[in-house]
Symmetry: C2
Subunit: 293 residues, 2 copies
Amino acid sequence: MSRPPLRNLRLGLVQSAPLADPSENVKRAEESIRQAAAQGAQLICLPELFRTPYFPQEETAEHFEFAEPIPGPTTERLSPLARELEVVLIASLFERRAAGIYHNTTVVLDTDGSTAGIYRKMHIPDDPLFFEKFYFTPGDLGFDAIETAVGRIGVLICWDQWFPEAARLVALDGAEIIFYPTAIGWLDGETESENAAQREAWITAQRAHAISNGVFVAAVNRTGREGKLSFFGSSFVADPQGRMIAQAAMDREELLLVDCNPARIEQERRAWPFLRDRRIDAYGDLTRRYRRG
Amino acid sequence: MSRPPLRNLRLGLVQSAPLADPSENVKRAEESIRQAAAQGAQLICLPELFRTPYFPQEETAEHFEFAEPIPGPTTERLSPLARELEVVLIASLFERRAAGIYHNTTVVLDTDGSTAGIYRKMHIPDDPLFFEKFYFTPGDLGFDAIETAVGRIGVLICWDQWFPEAARLVALDGAEIIFYPTAIGWLDGETESENAAQREAWITAQRAHAISNGVFVAAVNRTGREGKLSFFGSSFVADPQGRMIAQAAMDREELLLVDCNPARIEQERRAWPFLRDRRIDAYGDLTRRYRRG
């Protein structure tokens, strides 16, 4: 039986604890990217909104000042860096598209410095200390995979993690690895058991995307204390069988370098051929809000 | 803040190792059902195809003899039992619908002995020693929840486990608990690490259905050796946050009694309101086989 060729990819997950000053955060991100590239990383992903503090923990119109156009100041810094290092950069930014239209957007910069694609966060959360609906217009670009020089990837963002529909759609669009830049953390005053269950649910849901789609999943979270939130790190990569192949600590900055062999995708999808058996004739109601009244 | 009322439900998961003789299997199932009911179980679920050996590990036309109509001999045995014990019975059978049209069907018998509903397995596997496509016509009833006297449930079957679409659709149809009668096991000659990864993937995928839909999930597997297969038991119930609240052993028959409080569903869906944020405007391509050519 012929096997797909070996084509190893090294991912760099930059788990960071952003500071108050955006220019400092960009500078530190650049250092981490250089460090990851020096160690052979080909696809390097930063956490959600790496450039700024996690401002959506309060609703304050002044925080719209954190936004920038895309392309804009940050991509102008990162694009030459991607070209210089010949790496793919996955950078989550607060996008100002127009007055009153702001998005939570991830830009993918290719190895030649060009923009391979952008993704605008489609599912926007809003729960205590994660008041994102105030800031972010829901994305209008859908769930398309993005072609890069080193592979076809899906980029989804944080809250998208909880929606199997999103993972499925980028996988059906040919993504081999799904990246999730993330900002998830604990609120004060919860029990340890509740905190553990939340973290475990976060891991479980994403490992399941790897399993049901036969893809790699790379989640890149913030860490550290900001305001009233404790981001819990735990960035990880799961293989197409859902095996946890690498995971960062909860409570400190870390650069996680992980080797993935995309041939595992074909291997896994031959062993458990789920995509063969999807009942596309019977999924129509997935576009309904609720099926009862 | 008002809370939904407490309405505790006790589930009975009958993890069994069926024998060669169907009448013996039905007799043993009846005994387990009586035992579960005596301990207060209100919803009792048997494993996939509990009445027969796991015949799809070979393709032999004679095995169609195992099939029966629904209603038919087995429901005529179980229906009075459901009425007598005032329990809901979830029984997976090999249905003969017509010459040449056979299904892998689960019947739900209500507390008064009536048929609350049936579900015909929609996703049919076919991989080494699980040659189900030879026997089972794919279901044509869709993914509807079933109303019973003690609650609204979803019934999916085994291979359906790997498809988040199926879980989502029964949840959107109001299911509070999703039952998965199952026959999953290991082939000889795999490594321990591979076997462990398969079992863990099976658990992870289903816990994720609980999480992303905010429902209880109850998986009821066969156990024991049959022919060339070793069924791995591990039947379990996960709560709406994906917490594993009870799990059976891998290697022996077991009756698992598990209390579920459906109020946990409302509680969990308020804390993490995923259903609020589904992008139903952007899920249309879920009815496509593949999005690239």
